[in-house]
């Protein structure tokens, strides 16, 4: 156990981003048809190297507890309704973030007839995080920069 814990300590000390104690926002992730790349990278955000909790962000289990809906993938027909249901379950004010090129409607692979359209056509998108997939550090930096620029005024 000591090896593991020591490794986590080293990582935590080595993390580059500065602490920002001015906000606390909760993220709910929805996979609307991704290739699982964005999920793998997003999952690393809450590990010690990236540790977004230190920057006032966390990933939560229910959209009812979330300020930000973070969506990956192009929106497939089967996921359009669950995606809208998750958005409707969120308290207002709320934000929508598009994670990865597919969610942004760029270079989407697959049969167009299987998608309802870009995320933008389904929900109002406030934050854009490009990449295929963006790495964990890029996701964290882009989210934090976008939130700073938005001055945390979520859509009502």
């Amino acid at each position: 156990m000591f090896t593991l814990l020591r490794q986590l300590d080293t990582l935590r000390r080595g993390a580059a981003l500065q602490r920002d104690g001015r906000r606390w926002m909760a993220i709910r992730h929805v996979d609307a048809g991704s290739c699982n790349g964005c999920e793998h990278e997003l999952g690393l955000l809450t590990t010690p190297l990236h540790d977004i909790q230190r920057h006032g962000l966390d990933i939560v289990a229910s959209p009812r507890h979330a300020d930000i809906l973070l969506v990956t993938g192009p929106v497939t027909h089967h996921m359009a309704t669950p995606l809208r249901t998750a958005y409707q379950a969120m308290p207002t004010p709320r934000l929508v973030a598009a994670l990865g090129d597919c969610a942004l409607g760029c270079n989407v692979l697959g049969d167009r007839t299987q998608f309802v359209g870009r995320l933008e056509d389904v929900l109002p998108v406030d934050i854009r995080i490009p990449g295929c997939p963006p790495d964990p550090a890029t996701i964290a930096a882009t989210l934090l920069t976008a939130l700073a620029e938005l001055r945390v005024q979520p859509r009502s």
Binding site: M1, L8, H29, N36, G37, E39
Partner: protein, 468 residues
């Protein structure tokens, strides 16, 4: 080279039965737009025989699910996407389509106190989308119906009509975490159809990519099992190790998931500036740390006490369902597509085996740690000399159907490519995740509902790989 046999639909079932009796294994099956139905059977390691038939406009084809339990999903998919009717597959439930009525896709479960628990498609963590419907009495799971294909993107259809190299992108994005395995399977299938053969150098480079993918995935999967019992130190530690493995992939080949490193007829394009020594040294350091971390897990009583006897999938069930990959090997079924592979540098590999292949969560955790040792050794040897530019060579006449097989971190990935006029007429990808999803449902039955996340994590299958 793949052997293709045209056969009358009436004789298909008997032909499959004879082949299986002769020791062949069901490998894949796919339908085509012209009511074609193909069944790929594998024998002597890597010899693939495709039985191909054309189903008349109002005709039916005999189901083979009683001969090969692994074909259940393949037939359901062909029925949903290509409207092929199967005689003897009763009930032929929807798989890719999502009809509203429950009876169209769930097992009927009756009795006192039986209730259903619906989970998903959106799950509580950062997980892919898919729906589970548990039939329970109290906390005990009687049966589980999985409804996947929420992420069906029509990737196979989208690949049709493209030149073989251009269609690769659609196959590669079926799944990020198995992208190398699926891409190499596709490249081998396309090369098989084009009559191209890869030499030893290309085989070595593709093996390096495949084993790097296995490295970060197995580290990830060990961490995921720790997360499944709420053992945070293990989950975080192995996630950090996986992150380091992916950074090594980026430093060496330019991408954390090795996207773009596989090509049809060609080696990885980004060899310039590649420091093999740095990659080899990085892997050795990673191995040291991962070995120490694994030792910590072996002595972590609160983790170990949760694994034995949970999510049992014994050898008989694994064989009946056609289970592949670590899940099969953890149940004592010694199959690994790497063994004897004619186009990869793994022909002489001895896959890891457990002294007690119990087929439970504990065994599926241990097999991954054991397989990592084989992979570390293999990579160290493969990276001992510089990579050189290499290409495939034309060695024989093109054929209509090509098959490629690889061992992804989740099991055998079989890709079939049909060419017409130099373009892809049909591509079908049958991944380890696709093969193993029915086993997750089988392993969950009889367990406590709160143990399902752990059982699920011990298989750690991709939804994207299955849904395509």
């Amino acid at each position: 080279m793949t052997i293709v046999e045209q056969i009358d639909p009436d004789r298909l079932r008997a032909a499959v039965s004879t082949a299986l009796a002769d020791g062949a294994r069901f490998s894949s099956a796919w339908a085509t737009a012209e009511r074609g139905w193909r069944i790929a059977l594998n024998s002597d390691g890597h010899q693939t025989r495709v039985l191909s038939c054309k189903v008349p406009p109002h005709g039916v084809v005999d189901s083979i699910i009683e001969l090969a339990g692994a074909a259940v999903w393949d037939e359901r998919e062909a029925h949903d996407l290509y409207a092929l009717p199967f005689a003897g597959h009763e009930p032929l439930r929807a798989l890719v389509r999502h009809p509203a009525e429950l009876s169209a896709w769930t097992t009927p479960v009756r009795g006192d106190g039986v209730h259903q628990v619906a989970v998903g498609p959106i799950h509580a963590g950062v997980i892919e989308s898919g729906h589970f419907r548990f039939h329970c009495v109290g906390d005990q799971i009687l049966a589980l119906d999985t409804r996947l294909f929420h992420k069906h993107r029509g990737l196979e259809r989208a690949a049709e009509g493209h030149a073989p190299q251009d269609a690769l992108a659609h196959v590669a994005r079926a799944c990020a975490a198995c992208s190398v395995a699926n891409s190499v399977a596709y490249a081998l299938a396309a090369e098989d159809a084009l009559g191209l053969t890869s030499g030893g150098e290309l085989a070595r480079q593709r093996t390096v990519l495949l084993e790097l993918e296995r490295t970060y995935n197995h580290l990830h999967d060990i961490g995921a099992i720790c997360a499944g019992v709420g053992f945070a130190a293990g989950a975080m530690g192995f996630a950090a190790l996986k992150d380091r493995a992916q950074e090594l992939c980026r430093a060496a080949f330019g991408h954390r998931f090795l996207f773009g490193a596989v090509a049809v007829g060609d080696g990885p394009c980004a060899l310039e500036g590649l420091s093999l020594e740095a990659l080899r040294a990085g892997l050795r350091e990673l191995r040291t740390d991962a070995t120490a971390a694994w030792r910590d897990l072996e002595f972590a009583a609160s983790l170990q006490a949760r694994l034995d006897g949970i999510g049992l999938l014994d050898r008989t069930a694994a064989l009946r369902l056609g289970v592949v990959g670590p899940a099969a090997r953890a149940a004592g079924v010694a199959i690994d597509a790497r063994v004897g592979h004619p186009h990869l540098t793994t022909a002489g590999i001895e896959p890891a085996a457990l002294s007690h292949p119990d087929g439970d969560v504990a065994a599926r955790l241990k097999i991954r740690a054991a397989e990592l040792i084989v992979t570390w050794d293999l990579l160290d040897e493969l990276l001992s000399r510089p990579l050189e530019r290499c290409r495939t060579v034309a060695s024989r006449a093109p054929s209509a159907i090509g098959i490629g097989r690889t061992e992804s971190p989740r099991g055998e990935s079989v890709c079939a490519v049909e060419l017409a006029g130099g373009r892809v007429a049909r591509v079908h990808l049958r991944t380890g995740s696709y093969a193993n999803w029915p086993a997750v449902a089988a392993a969950a039955a009889g367990n406590q509902l709160p143990d399902f996340p752990l059982i699920n994590k011990s298989f750690e299958l991709c939804y994207a790989c299955a849904d395509r």
